[in-house]
Symmetry: C2
Subunit: 290 residues, 2 copies
């Protein structure tokens, strides 16, 4: 899966640099980021099942960020890709509902309906508990999408809170995993997968076996491959329920593949995406005994 995490200081040359820029800095950066991300999608679509928008990189563009995300989501959908809104939102009832309307569904107002981003999957932060996650599950279930809750993340700080041992046994992240499993249970489909998945970092593969024990039906979003040091080969437990059990996401290692491999950025990105897909499917098929 392609992560869209555009750094305005590291865009592909053909995206239009500052020399060609007109308008405000924000307008120029937004236009170049749109061109860069569209080219990335076009280069890798054949090797991907989804694109993941890192919302922070668009929010930082201010007013111009949302239209860029909207256009990229539409473009990805037109190529048959799923869209993941990676915003890690989490808040109390009415606020969580508003976020869910923004990212997954839409909002009916006295002024008419305001369409949301229309993402298929949305990442959420469960620190505030079940009632901060449920509005996202409800909205996603209504639209046929799903939710991916942070369970055990890929950053080193994950040890500070997520790994704390509980008096009742297990860790904080294992307790979150139990909530994910419970929230997803009413919607386990024929393929054995539910609509409440988990973000489980690829940087600590030792957690994956335990995570799969606790969440047998959850789709795992697996960040941390590539720039953060994780390796596809270590992710076997994710694929126990099937090929769709794990979504391997890479952002910088695809977008910046030409800096390592040389050559044209689009070609290097496609080759890196194809390499990741090949490694992922080979691993999944080995796990599944195919």
């Amino acid at each position: 899966m392609l992560g869209l995490d555009p750094d305005p200081a590291a865009l592909w040359p053909q995206s239009g640099g500052p020399a060609q820029a007109a308008g405000t800095p924000a307008d120029a950066a937004a236009r170049a980021i749109l061109a860069h991300c569209r080219a990335l999608i076009d280069a890798t679509a054949q090797a991907c099942v989804a694109v993941k928008l890192q919302l922070a990189r668009f929010e930082v563009l201010g007013a111009g960020g949302w239209p860029v995300m909207d256009e990229l989501a539409a473009h990805a959908r037109s190529l048959g890709l799923l869209v993941i809104a990676d915003g890690k939102r989490g808040d109390i009832d009415v606020s969580a509902e508003a976020y869910a309307c923004a990212l997954v569904g839409g909002l009916d107002t006295p002024f008419g309906r305001i369409d949301g981003l229309g993402a298929d999957l949305v990442t959420v932060n469960p620190l505030m508990g079940r009632d901060a996650v449920e509005p996202f599950v409800t909205a996603a279930r209504r639209s046929g999408g799903g939710v991916l809750a942070l369970v055990r993340t890929s950053n080193s700080g994950a040890a500070d809170i997520e790994d704390l041992e509980l008096a009742g046994g297990g860790t904080v992240w294992e307790r979150i995993a139990a909530i994910v499993d419970e929230l997803g249970r009413p919607a386990v489909g024929e393929a054995g997968l539910s609509d409440v998945g988990a973000v489980v970092g690829a940087t600590e593969p030792r957690h994956l076996t335990r995570a799969r024990e606790l969440m047998g039906n959850a789709i795992f979003l697996l960040p941390g491959v590539g720039a953060q040091g994780g390796r596809v080969e270590d992710l076997a437990p994710a694929f126990a329920p099937g090929r769709a059990g794990g979504l391997v996401t890479a952002s910088r290692s695809i977008a910046n593949a030409h800096l390592r491999a040389g050559g044209e950025p689009a070609r290097a990105a496609r080759e890196e995406a194809e390499r990741l897909r090949g490694a992922t499917w080979a691993l999944a098929d080995r796990v599944l005994g195919r």
Copy 2:
């Protein structure tokens, strides 16, 4: 403090209803929300020290949401009010930095500088650990602002994760409180307050004494008064370091005061904000022995 949490279905009548609306539903809703929030700020500014923007309610407006927040933040600042961006963001390094640039600072790009929202304080979610919070602290410290980390929130789901007992003693939220205290220590000012504060719900006042023990220098943002059931009179421990030790925030109870009290919305909102301010200062002065 005034919370801006605008529900497009419950705006003040003078904000311009659907009958007067032109343009897309999103444009019309954004215009009416801007008018509603400006009127709320104008009505209550004399009784408030800050406005808190609930980012979800603006994100749900799509592309039109950011300019409305930007204008409201500028308007609040022009009246001498602090601006709090309540987005509860939290993510890995580069993403947390992007959010911090969006909400607190600004981003220098090859296209020029993109200004952020310029908030004075920003709420963050610490589930992912210290390294998900530090970029916000760094950005806020640079601009003279501060960070408010979720510690013990006001929703009932807070019991699911935040209240879990740890094998090493204490709870998850108490461990987060220790991190807040530690992150803020390098920047405790003359008034005895640091630039890393805590969100501590007013709905469970029994936690406040313990929270104050663990975070002696933190500003407490105290949501949950009013619509969620919390009472100012129960918040004494927040004010131990001084009048500025606690920020009592109310959104719906101010915006919808006219539905209870009758009369003109702006007048009812001002009276409710003045009542809350009076109760807050009286409590703080009692705590401080003045």
